[in-house]
């Protein structure tokens, strides 16, 4: 099932000629549903395709759609744009917290070392960039949890991000804003 899904996702990938659509959202959602409990050995050994797809989803940036965070129509391109990003972030958080985390279970350590060596820097750069852009609150939540998870698990891997996260990103989230006061 997963190779066919991956092919579907690669075809449906948003681009200059194709707006974010339901297919890419559903492909990522299916991956999440199928893997959040555990990863199969074949997915572990052939993760390049999926990780490239997730990297492309996060890298896809549309300034027009970025302005439409408060969408009403769930079937609109902006809805799929933000929601696909949310699902991908959720998937990656699961990797950082579980699949690629030897602290979660020692048996995961060999794959964690391999996965982090191959993909960590790319995803960290993308996640950091995403924290400075408009995103759904849950997406931001997943990203911050991801950085925390890595910070507790392998702090040496995020040394370059400590300063910016400490002095630029988190203060923005911690400051009380007018909309916070309505719900606090």
């Amino acid at each position: 099932m997963f190779p066919a899904l991956l092919q579907l996702g690669q075809v449906a990938m948003p681009s200059a000629a194709q707006l974010p659509n339901e297919t890419i959202f559903l492909v990522c959602k299916c991956y999440w549903t199928g893997t959040h409990m555990d990863l199969t050995d074949s997915l572990r050994s052939n993760d390049l395709g999926w990780m490239s797809l997730f990297k492309d989803v996060l890298a896809y940036d549309d300034p027009d759609l970025n302005q439409k965070l408060h969408f009403k129509d769930k079937s609109s391109p902006e809805s799929f744009y933000f929601r696909t990003r949310k699902v991908v972030t959720r998937i990656l958080l699961k990797y950082y917290q579980k699949h690629a985390n030897g602290k979660y279970h020692a048996v995961n350590e060999p794959y964690a070392a391999e996965w982090l060596a191959k993909y960590n820097e790319t995803f960290l750069q993308q996640m950091y960039a995403q924290l400075t852009k408009p995103n759904l609150p849950k997406t931001q939540y997943f990203m911050m949890k991801m950085f925390s998870s890595l910070g507790y698990y392998r702090p040496q891997l995020i040394e370059n991000y400590v300063g910016p996260l400490l002095f630029q990103i988190t203060p923005g989230f911690l400051q009380m804003r007018p909309e916070d006061e309505q719900v606090a």
Binding site: Q140, M144, S148, G151, T170, P171, F173
Partner: protein, 67 residues
């Protein structure tokens, strides 16, 4: 917008996650002191004060609106 992204529902989670992240980053040994001091100037102290105020208020269980 999906219900789970409703601002009123995600408010606490976002604040908790950012607090957790901030504490986690504080615990990670950082670059040499000079470089850290450079990062602190000029606007960072205000951020730090705001963060500590927020944490102190939370610890005291204060209602931020009433204050």
């Amino acid at each position: 917008m999906p219900r789970e992204d409703d601002y009123s529902l995600t408010f606490t989670n976002t604040k908790l996650a950012s607090t957790d992240l901030w504490i986690c980053m504080c615990e990670i040994p950082q670059q040499p002191r000079d470089s850290l001091e450079q990062q602190l100037a000029p606007s960072s102290p205000k951020y730090l004060i705001d963060i500590f105020k927020y944490i102190v208020m939370k610890l005291e269980g204060a209602n931020l609106i009433e204050r």
